[in-house]
Every structure is written in structure tokens, then in C-alpha cells.
């Protein structure tokens, strides 16, 4: 599973992307966030407030209850500010 971070999430986590292999019971976006938070204090801080974070699974916006699986590309980023 590839995790990508953008904007302030990237600077807070300290990685552009990382390859992870979470345990088998991590099957939703919500469970993935819980697991990632426990990986390091930086992850914990960056992912603390889920209301401030958007998630994309394989380039599509996703909700906390949506499924994630091995091979997926999951991105975390703040609300978009283009245009």
C-alpha cells in the first residue's frame, strides 16, 4: 500500500510518500488512519484531526468508511485551494 502526503500534511509527516504493510484488520480508511497515527509522533500529530483532512483512494475522493486494500494508493491532504 502506498501512502502519499500533500501540502502541510507532507511537511508535518516529513515524507512525500511511504510504502506500508498494515495488518490485515486495516480494511477501511478510518482503520488506516488509526494505524498510521500510532507509527510515529509526527504521523499522530499530522493525522490528529480527521475533519481537517481529505482522503483519496486510487485518485478518487474517499470517506472514512471506504475500503482500502493492499496495492491501493492512499493520499492524505488538506482541503484543496486551487483555482
Amino acid at each position: 500500500m502506498k501512502i502519499r502526503y500533500f501540502a502541510w500534511l507532507r511537511t508535518r509527516v516529513g515524507h512525500v510518500e511511504e510504502e506500508i504493510a498494515p495488518p490485515a484488520d486495516v480494511t477501511t480508511v478510518r482503520a488506516l488512519i488509526d494505524w498510521l497515527r500510532a507509527q510515529s509522533p509526527r504521523h499522530g500529530e499530522a493525522l490528529a484531526d480527521t475533519t481537517a483532512i481529505c482522503v483519496a483512494v486510487n485518485h478518487e475522493f474517499a470517506e472514512l468508511g471506504d475500503p482500502v486494500a493492499a496495492g491501493d494508493e492512499i493520499a492524505f491532504f488538506p482541503p484543496v485551494t486551487g483555482g
Binding site: 500533500f6 501540502a7 478518487e60 488538506p78 482541503p79 485551494t81 486551487g82 483555482g83
Partner: protein
């Protein structure tokens, strides 16, 4: 047609290319977004636009497709830049062409409203306090919602 690029674009040349050899178009509307030198009382010396390659193109194409389903458009174009931009630089271009002006006006507003809430771009402004990530504006969500999102 959509494009994501670092380099600048020429608005006149883009519109000319979009309408070349077309005699069926009666109205063209364009929106150009520029970098402001101020934001909420702060001076802004420039900005860096980050995006999510892959998802950006997918989202822009989906937004353009949605506009084409809602309005009878003859042609449309979205060009969005990324990288470092200075005050006065062009950021984004949205162009819509139709038989009549109403469809072109509405579809152009729709493109930019949806782009602002659905395309994965982030602005980091250079302020006197250092770099500052721009926060999403409630007004942008309200503007996007008037098109009855979902």
C-alpha cells in the same frame, strides 16, 4: 480538453486554438485566475502551487465532462499551472464555447467553482511571516454547492 503545466499560457492563443475552423460557435466565455499580492491583510510575495499528478488530471477531466453533460457546449478548456508563481502571474484558465452566451457563462462559472473544491491543488503563499498554506474558504464551498453538488 484539460492541461496541467508549469509554464504560462497565452489566453488569446488558447481561445483562437479552441475555436479554429469552427463556424458553429456563437459565444466564448473565459475565466483567468491571477496571483494577488495580498491576502487578508498580508502582503504576498509569491506562491507555490502543489498538486497531485494523476489525480489532478482525472478530477479536471471529470469536472469538464460534467459541464459538458449539463450545458450544450461546443468546446471547453481548462489549463491550470503549478510551481512557483509571482504576483500578477496567471494561475488558471477556464474557457467554454457554446451556441449562445448563457450556456457559456454558466458552464464557465461551474468549471471554476467545482475546480476550486475538487481539483487537488494547494497554494503556499510567501508572507512576511514565512510560508503559509492557504486555507480553504467557506465561500468556495458555498459557490460550488449552488450547482447542486451530488
Amino acid at each position: 480538453m484539460i492541461r496541467v503545466q508549469e509554464e504560462d499560457f497565452d489566453v488569446g492563443a488558447e481561445i483562437a486554438a479552441l475555436t479554429r475552423d469552427r463556424t458553429d460557435i456563437g459565444a466564448v466565455v473565459s475565466f483567468v485566475g491571477l496571483v494577488r499580492d495580498h491576502a487578508g491583510g498580508d502582503d504576498v510575495g509569491g506562491m507555490t502551487l502543489e498538486h497531485y499528478p494523476g489525480m489532478t488530471e482525472k478530477q479536471l477531466a471529470a469536472i469538464e465532462r460534467e459541464a459538458g453533460e449539463r450545458w450544450p457546449l461546443s468546446a471547453s478548456l481548462i489549463v491550470h499551472r503549478y510551481g512557483r508563481l509571482a504576483p500578477g502571474d496567471r494561475i488558471v484558465l477556464a474557457v467554454t464555447a457554446a451556441d449562445h452566451r448563457q450556456a457559456a457563462f454558466e458552464a464557465c462559472a461551474f468549471l471554476i467553482d467545482w475546480l476550486k473544491t475538487k481539483a487537488p491543488f494547494w497554494k503556499c503563499e510567501e508572507t512576511s511571516d514565512g510560508p503559509k498554506w492557504v486555507e480553504a474558504r467557506t465561500e468556495d464551498n458555498t459557490a460550488a454547492a449552488r450547482w447542486h453538488d451530488d
